[in-house]
Subunit: 232 residues, 2 copies
């Protein structure tokens, strides 16, 4: 049997937001690989799927949250090696990734490292619910309708570019806002948009939280997986 | 029992891309409402879920594809009235919508018409896989990674605005391109991006199609549900 790699989006947090297709891929795999930020921490992706995979072999892959490229490359190389070893044995390996595999997913790096190593196995990508769709469902707002347009950016942004984007777009999703709330608030105030923002964190998880009072959040310790949706 | 309305995203076409949560909502409803463009046509949403709902009562709601606001309002009013009548009887009504309920979904209009009529029932929104995530999975590309940014627009665009968006963003998803391919090609050529586009139509359905040769498509009759993803 030839090995095959599945990239499976498991959604932002609520286990029932897995698709039927994702569930089937998990059930058919013997080994499920999950990313995590620190060796001593739990994998968020694993916590979402744990009730579905029961006695499967779980391969935890550490991808440290650092900007140090050398450290990152070392860990990616290590992870790709482990996955490649299983694929070479003819295994079906499912890599479970938070949200959707095509939107800011660690899968991109795993794949490029496998290619760098010269590994070429069949890959199937199964889309997942992304965090901003889940957040919009929770808030019961529509993100875009008719001929409106949507921008999705991450918070570490050039301020003048963010301002420009907020001017052009009907709706702007700003991801990973936890350390940038102050800068974002300044831009929103300048554009008279401070009342148009929704803050959402940990969507679909136990500590799910949302608020329209962005100012009150300025002094709080925010979750890494938090976003602001600006809807004009 | 109090009536409750569920807006359920059924994804872009492949039935197995429904979430477990969406499936549960369908199973628990007695009546499933689906939108369609013409009275004599079949509902695309219904074709996706038909194997899951078997003997349920199906309420087909016609929302004609027209820009005539008066005609549209008449049909929306009629649809809202039918749904309200069921909710008033204490029914759970699932409105099945293509893709995700927060992204260009007809659900927005149904909801606002119910509110206009003075109906206020509990609503639950269940997110769905959106068409561009499914397209990216099919193409096996990542849309955004790291600190990149993504724009989602619909094709009937002011050309200079589209040009500006293509300059600022790493990835631009242009939806509903079927009648605007020529204009879009011109903009892409001007920006030297003509080799960076992917065309995808009917993702996950029997007539699913994708191509990187946009020029060859200029003379073809394109599906209404087609998009171009420009990935720099």
């Amino acid at each position: 049997m030839e090995g095959k790699l599945y990239a499976v989006g498991v959604g932002p947090g609520e286990p029932s937001l897995l698709t039927i297709k994702a569930l089937k891929a998990l059930e058919e795999a013997r080994v499920v690989a999950v990313p995590k930020g620190k060796a001593e921490k739990k994998s968020l992706a694993l916590s979402i799927i744990k009730d579905y995979i029961k006695d499967k072999e779980v391969l935890e892959l550490v991808f440290p949250m650092t900007d140090n490229k050398e450290v990152l490359e070392e860990f990616w190389e290590k992870a790709a090696k482990k996955v490649a070893a299983l694929l070479e044995k003819g295994e079906r390996v499912v890599f479970a990734t938070l949200g959707d595999p095509s939107l800011y997913s660690t899968f991109t790096y795993l794949r490029s490292y496998l290619e760098k190593r010269g590994n070429s196995f069949p890959v199937e990508v199964i889309p997942g619910i992304n965090s901003f769709s889940a957040a919009a469902s929770l808030l019961q707002i529509s993100l875009v309708e008719g001929d409106q347009n949507l921008a999705v950016v991450s918070a570490p942004q050039n301020t003048s570019r963010l301002k420009n984007i907020l001017k052009i777009f009907d709706t702007v999703v700003i991801l990973k806002v936890h350390r940038y709330l102050e800068e974002i608030m300044e831009v929103l105030e300048e554009l008279d948009l401070e009342d148009k923002g929704y803050f959402v964190s940990s969507c679909g998880r136990e500590d799910e939280y949302f608020s329209r009072d962005l100012k009150a959040l300025l002094k709080k310790d925010l979750d890494y997986l938090s976003m602001i949706i600006v809807r004009k």
